[in-house]
């Protein structure tokens, strides 16, 4: 499983010279599975460039697993080229709702007045499904989704292939409903992240910022490191960077995170656009 980050920013796209190092595109991660299947995690603005890359090949099927439908996780769909090309099949997976189907909810954004073109006009075949309640197979991977602590129905994902595990919890506030020293089983998202080789986790705030934003659905970098330790993940990648955070400010947080991790964990990463990790070989580039 090859993991490629196309957008690691949270909440709002943040292009500009101060963020060019880690990138300003919102959440989007591509997984290239061993059998060639393309699985995409979230459709933030980072998916625009990924889409351009995908249409260089013959039309086929792509899977998009949405954690939730906040704008920074779906805003790239209007410019996701495979969706706007005949012959492609885009299979969406997302959180269930008691009030509307996934298609109806995504269409709220992909329709006037928020977007000029409606989803029904997309030439590609778009298929929408609520995530199954038990692990299921996408290509050569086994995918598990669970509801996690955030504002509104939100999923975290665990993707396992050939004994390697990626956990993806980009919007997550586990310590709103648990204490840091709680039994880990009572910490939101723990089972998804437990023992993962790589965890992409919400690291939006500094500890000081979090104090004024408790309940907004995101974690401080300190909490991200605490969660990664509680879950015993091999490597944490800080993700969903605050749109106000410059590259330099992000790097200033790095040491704080590194110090909180256990000695048996690998040094953390700051997720950036262009980051590629082959979980089989396990070397970031």
């Amino acid at each position: 499983m090859i993991v490629r980050v196309w957008g690691a920013r949270g909440s709002l796209s943040a292009p500009g010279p101060a963020t060019v190092g880690y990138g300003g595109n919102t959440s989007c991660v591509e997984l290239e599975l061993a059998d060639g299947t393309t699985l995409i995690l979230d459709a933030g603005s980072g998916i625009r460039e990924l889409g351009q890359r995908l249409v260089e090949r013959d039309p086929g099927v792509v899977h998009i697993c949405l954690t939730h439908l906040h704008l920074d996780h779906v805003e790239g769909l209007g410019f996701f080229t495979p969706l706007w090309r005949a012959g492609w099949r885009v299979r969406f997976w997302g959180p269930p709702s008691t009030t509307a189907t996934l298609r109806e909810r995504v269409s709220r954004y992909l329709s006037p007045p928020l977007f000029p073109i409606g989803l029904s006009e997309a030439p590609a075949e778009a298929v929408f499904e609520d995530v199954p309640r038990k692990p299921w197979r996408i290509g050569s991977a086994v995918v598990e989704a669970q509801t996690v602590e955030h504002r509104g129905p939100t999923l975290g994902y665990r993707i396992e292939e050939e004994g390697r595990v990626l956990a993806y919890l980009p919007d997550h506030e586990p310590y709103l409903t648990a204490a840091s020293d709680d039994d880990p089983r009572w910490i939101s998202g723990w089972a998804l992240a437990a023992g993962a080789d790589l965890l992409l986790h919400d690291s939006q705030y500094t500890a000081d910022e979090y104090a004024g934003r408790m309940g907004w659905g995101h974690s401080s970098v300190t909490q991200a490191a605490t969660f990664a330790s509680a879950a015993g993940v091999r490597r944490l990648a800080m993700f969903h960077h605050d749109p106000m955070r410059s590259d330099r400010a992000l790097e200033e947080l790095y040491d704080e995170v590194a110090q909180l991790l256990r000695s048996d964990q690998e040094p953390p990463l700051i997720a950036r656009e262009g980051l590629e990790i082959d979980l089989g070989a396990d070397t970031p580039s």
């Binding site: 008691t98 602590e149 409903t177 723990w190 089972a191």
Partner: protein, 134 residues
Amino acid sequence: MERKQPDLVLIVARSFATKLATPTLIIDARGDLVFFNDAATEVLGRSYTEIGALQAGRWQELFEPRTLDEEPMTAEQTPGGVALLERRPVNGSFAMRGLDGREREITVTAFPLFSHPDEVVGSMSIFWELPPAP
């Protein structure tokens, strides 16, 4: 440790209970007692930290729930059990023995915890000790 954990609805319910000053107890889909808050300690006679999670049969044995007419009740017949099995809110009063050995009569409001429209992951019981009859 097995990679299993309670549904988020139970996690949030437990978090809610920890912040309530009203005695509150949570059972999971199997009927096991998985949490009660500090406020419940006075009614139940010991703290959750002291006794931890209890299987359905065990908490029934310890608390000896009975109707107000002193007829024994099973765990399934308590308001929390009814809320779980019949998937509806319920209110009722019954007698029990606290873990400090003191007999009590309590009134319970219990409701099922749905994670999906067709899936109940537990029930939450909020309860009050009835004042002794005059």
